[in-house]
C-alpha cells in the first residue's frame, strides 16, 4: 500500500464551481502537508503548505488537514480556467527524521471549462 493515496481524477468542472481535491495517508509521522500545482510541461510549484491539523486559506484556496483521520483536502472556490492543472499533494515528517524527503500523491488533473 502506498503511503499517500490521492483521488485519481481526472476532474472536469464548469467555471465558477467549487473543487475538492483529497489525499489520505498512512504514516502518522507526517506533520507537514503541501499542495503543489503543475501546469502542463512545467515543474510543480508550491501552492499551499500547512503544519499539523487545521485550515489555511489563501485567496480562493483553502487547505484542510485532519490528522486524526489522516486526510487532507484542497478546496478551490470560484474555479477559473487558469486553475486547470495537475494538483499534487505531498507530505513529510520533520527533516531530522527523514532527511528532507517529501512523499507525493499521484496527482489529480483538473480541467475547468469556461
Amino acid at each position: 500500500q502506498k503511503e499517500v493515496e490521492q483521488d485519481p481524477g481526472p476532474l472536469s468542472v464548469p467555471e465558477g464551481a467549487i473543487v475538492s481535491l483529497n489525499c489520505t495517508y498512512s504514516n502518522s509521522a507526517f506533520q507537514y502537508f503541501m499542495w503543489y500545482r503543475q501546469y502542463s510541461r512545467k515543474g510543480p510549484e508550491l501552492l499551499m503548505y500547512t503544519y499539523s491539523s487545521g485550515n489555511k486559506e489563501d485567496g480562493r484556496f483553502t487547505a484542510q488537514v485532519d490528522k486524526s483521520s489522516k486526510y487532507i483536502s484542497l478546496f478551490i472556490r470560484d474555479s477559473q480556467p487558469s486553475d486547470s492543472a495537475t494538483y499534487l499533494c505531498a507530505m513529510r515528517s520533520p527533516a531530522r527524521t527523514n532527511a528532507g524527503k517529501s512523499t507525493f500523491g499521484d496527482g489529480t488533473t483538473l480541467t475547468v471549462k469556461p
Binding site: 515543474g43 510549484e45 503548505y49 505531498a90 531530522r96 532527511a99 524527503k101
Partner: protein, 117 residues
C-alpha cells in the same frame, strides 16, 4: 532570473547510450534533489544532497549516478540507458530549517524530458 534551471530540457537518445542532465539553483538553498516523474504524473524521489553530501539514495539502479560539485549544482549521469528510463526528471532545491524540523518545501526546475528509443 530562473531559480532552479535544468539543461537540457529535452533529450532523445538510443538505448545503451550515456547521458547527463545538469541542474543549478541560485536560491542559496543547501539541499538539492532529483525526482523522476513517469507518464502517469507520479513523482518519485531518487537522490538528495545536502551541502554536497548524499543524504537520500532511494532504490535506483546504479546506472544512475548523481554528483554535486558544490551546493548550487547537482548533476545526474545515466549509463546504458534503457527504455524504462524514459520520463521527466526534475531537479529541486530546498532550505533546511536550522533546527531540522521545518517543512522544507521544494522549488522545482522545469524538468528534463528524456526519451529513450
Amino acid at each position: 532570473d530562473t531559480a532552479v534551471s535544468q539543461t537540457p530540457k529535452y533529450l532523445v537518445t538510443q538505448m545503451g547510450n550515456d547521458k547527463s542532465i545538469k541542474c543549478e539553483q541560485n536560491l542559496g538553498h543547501d539541499t538539492m534533489y532529483w525526482y523522476k516523474q513517469d507518464s502517469k504524473k507520479f513523482l518519485k524521489i531518487m537522490f538528495s544532497y545536502n551541502n554536497k553530501e548524499l543524504i537520500i539514495n532511494e532504490t535506483v539502479p546504479n546506472r544512475f549516478s548523481p554528483k554535486s560539485p558544490d551546493k548550487a549544482h547537482l548533476n545526474l549521469h545515466i549509463n546504458s540507458l534503457e527504455l524504462g528510463d524514459s520520463a521527466v526528471y526534475f531537479c529541486a532545491s530546498s532550505q533546511e530549517n536550522i533546527q531540522g524540523s521545518g517543512a522544507n518545501v521544494l522549488t522545482f526546475g522545469a524538468g528534463s524530458r528524456l526519451t529513450v528509443l
